[in-house]
């Protein structure tokens, strides 16, 4: 029963090698989907290319459905998985700052690494910028501590926070995604084409 490494089915020593293999697939999929191009990524904010929206939500739904299903069938113990913790204002303020950064640069960290791998100079500059940003954060750590460590709600899922049935939630989320995908195609037809 999964997860395999925390349950000692695969020895822990394999962790780093598995990390590299998973990373190779991650990088390959992102690059092949066009995520090494900042102009393609930024298209989602201007309506000329919705690849980010489609890849992101398809991946989110496939993974959420798959994990719930494996848990339901008893192959994967969902309670053993690492749940991203919820620090309410940290998530909102941090996310908002990242949103501005996304539109300004057209990359997020994962996609910028793909662009670095194929030689994009703007991506190299961007990664350098991220490191400066992390250094700035470390210097302001005391000041930002109330946001970073405050408003902690625990390692909660939507089911805990909203008292939702996960299966209904995923069902409704899927329908919403299909509608959004169809809507995004309508928008793209009306927006002036951008070629890159």
């Amino acid at each position: 029963m999964g997860p395999l490494i925390p349950n000692d089915i695969i020895p822990f020593e394999w962790n780093s090698i598995i990390a590299i293999v998973i990373g190779i697939f991650f990088g390959f999929i992102l690059e092949a989907s066009g995520f090494s191009s900042s102009r393609k990524l930024a298209g989602v904010f201007y309506g000329y290319d919705f690849a980010v929206l489609k890849v992101f939500f398809t991946a989110a739904l496939v993974s959420a459905i798959g994990i719930l299903y494996l848990d339901y069938l008893g192959y994967l113990d969902m309670s053993m998985l690492y749940i991203h913790p919820t620090y309410l204002w940290g998530a909102i303020i941090g996310g908002a700052i990242m949103g501005i950064g996304f539109v300004a640069a057209g990359f997020c960290p994962g996609t910028s690494l793909c662009a670095v791998a194929i030689g994009k100079i703007d991506a190299i500059v961007y990664v350098f910028g991220i490191m400066i940003g992390i250094f700035i954060f470390s210097q302001l750590y005391g000041l930002l501590d109330p946001i970073h460590n405050g408003y902690f709600q625990g390692y909660v899922t939507l089911m805990d926070s909203l008292d939702f049935d996960p299966y209904w939630f995923i069902f409704l989320f899927t329908i919403a995604a299909v509608i959004i995908f169809a809507f995004s195609d309508l928008i793209r037809k009306r927006v002036k084409k951008v070629f890159y």
Partner: protein, 174 residues
Amino acid sequence: MDKEQNRHVYWNPYFGGFLLGLLIILTFYITGRGLGASGAMKSSVVTMVDATSHEYAKKSAFYSKFVEGDKNPMNNWIVFETIGILIGAFISGGLAGRIGWRTQHSPKITKRRRLIFALLGGVLFGVGSQIARGCTSGAALSGIAVLSTGGFITMLAIFGTGFLVAYFFRKNWI
């Protein structure tokens, strides 16, 4: 750049998204955790600061978390995964003939402007990813996969703010 060049260059986004979803399932199934990216950049910064002054790193409230005792910040799951990302993207780009030194920007702006905005965007993403404890991959995507409330909030904040401020950056892109 003509129309033909723009078409069929990349995978169908639903195909890419589907494979990415399967990869996230596999990652959680094997390791019990999700994907990430900004974590490796944090490890790099920690390593550089630690190499410059170990005394300082040990005293700092932020860096001391990562350099206590014999801890090596580069011996970290995300760092290895990131090495994989670089290899995988290089293979994909190589197979498609996309490798080469270049700065990609809209023909309406200069290269200099593009690089300045790339740097500024990076700085913002660096600060934001630390406040939110993860970026689009680690917090938003892997968070949503296990229905984490924080993952959903981070995703909504990133894309919501992106759409709100897109107007002010339009000259860079369209």
